[in-house]
Symmetry: none
Subunit: 209 residues, 2 copies
DNA sequence: GGATAAAATTTCCAATAGGAAATAAAGTTA
DNA sequence: TAACTTTATTTCCTATTGGAAATTTTATCC
């Protein structure tokens, strides 16, 4: 079947719809993907068969693009191989190992001052990174200084470097944190940090989407 | 705050959400998902059929869980309905805003001591998180203490909390970092941190895959 | 309510997927 | 290299999918 299997997704529908609808459906090869996952885990077809409950022959045929697995089979693959289903058809994001590195010496970062914080974004030279580290001096001293919750995608890690702050969150009681204390939380939950010490409080925080 | 408060907090940390430990392998119903997508777009089976190039009957059967579509069919669905393939079996991100939170008070984390570092993993109660924060006391004082580069997937952010360290990397010259200095780098590049100050150096680092 | 039109489901059959066993290919060992 | 062992592929057959058309259900109009 091979040829047939090479998914001719467009022909008829492209004609019907505007260019917009034509998605860049990268040529996905579930077979190669599966084979890579299996071999990386040093599994033989026999072992993979045991784990997934699928026949060796079926696995072989999928790997060689001889058949298009049903969703049911894909689920068994994901469950048996302990992977997320999309991994079966998603490229493992080209590892570049560029050796990128960005050092920020104490107080050399770019500052951004507001009425509530003085933010210093760190590692500004390293673009497209997975985490965003900041060092901030906290000026805010009450919820009112903000007026509303801060809320955004992703997760956040916060460590108190100096002074004492209070972490206000939508679902928990206010929590006081001293130097050295830290907290990790879901940033979609409303959150705010205010200073409660004599001297200015300084915190480090790192976010990741 | 201090002592008084710390005692209070301990509990909350332990309590810190256990819910989330349950790996969300929700039973996925591709049928309901497809139907939702189609109806939300106000498409009839006939129209969806035109766009995807699949028969009305096939669409109907998929929606009613009477058949398990092959990967080929799933691709046609995604392409024709202009959606990403995973949307077919992923809940529309039921923004849960669970408000997960995990506080680690100074020196309450679990420690792991080796000849090179004393690692304290932070936010241990918060499972399946995007970042892994550690606070470490550095004992190592030369490359030889390790014998080989540390290298792993993802990126790493490092901040010096106390003392002075040297960051050794595979591609760069050694860099000395003092309290407050920080660095962000690609962790697939060989890297090591050694102490170069009189007193023990303490660093915070956060990794993300 | 009955008649009609539109949409969804079911039926029926050809095409394809998935499993058991046979075959082939790739290592291993003597 | 032959004999053997392990792993992968192919064959052959049954079960299931996917498509065309018939049937049923739902919505609309009079």
């Amino acid at each position: 079947m091979s040829e047939q299997n090479k998914v001719d997704i467009y022909p008829s529908m492209v004609v019907a719809d505007s260019q917009e609808n034509v998605r860049a459906v990268e040529k996905v090869t579930i077979g190669a993907q599966l084979k890579a996952i299996r071999t990386n885990n040093k599994l033989t077809l026999e072992e993979a068969s045991k784990r997934t409950g699928l026949a060796r022959s079926t696995l072989s045929k999928i790997e060689n693009e001889q058949i298009s697995p049903t969703f049911t089979v894909m689920q068994k693959l994901a469950a048996g191989l302990n992977i997320e289903l999309p991994q079966l058809f998603t490229k493992p994001k080209a590892r570049q190992a560029t050796g990128r590195r960005d050092i920020t010496l104490k107080s050399t970062g770019k500052s951004h001052v507001t009425s509530t914080y003085e933010h210093e974004l760190l590692a500004t030279q390293f673009r497209n990174k997975k985490m965003m580290p900041y060092k901030s001096r906290v000026y805010a001293r009450s919820f009112e200084d903000f007026g509303e919750w801060v809320r955004h995608e992703g997760e956040e890690f916060l460590l108190v470097l100096e002074g004492e702050v209070q972490l206000l969150t939508e679902f928990y009681e206010p929590m006081t944190l001293s130097k050295g204390d830290n907290v990790y939380y879901d940033a979609t939950m409303g959150h705010l940090v205010i200073s409660v010490s004599e001297e200015d409080a300084v915190i480090l925080w790192v976010t990741a989407d």
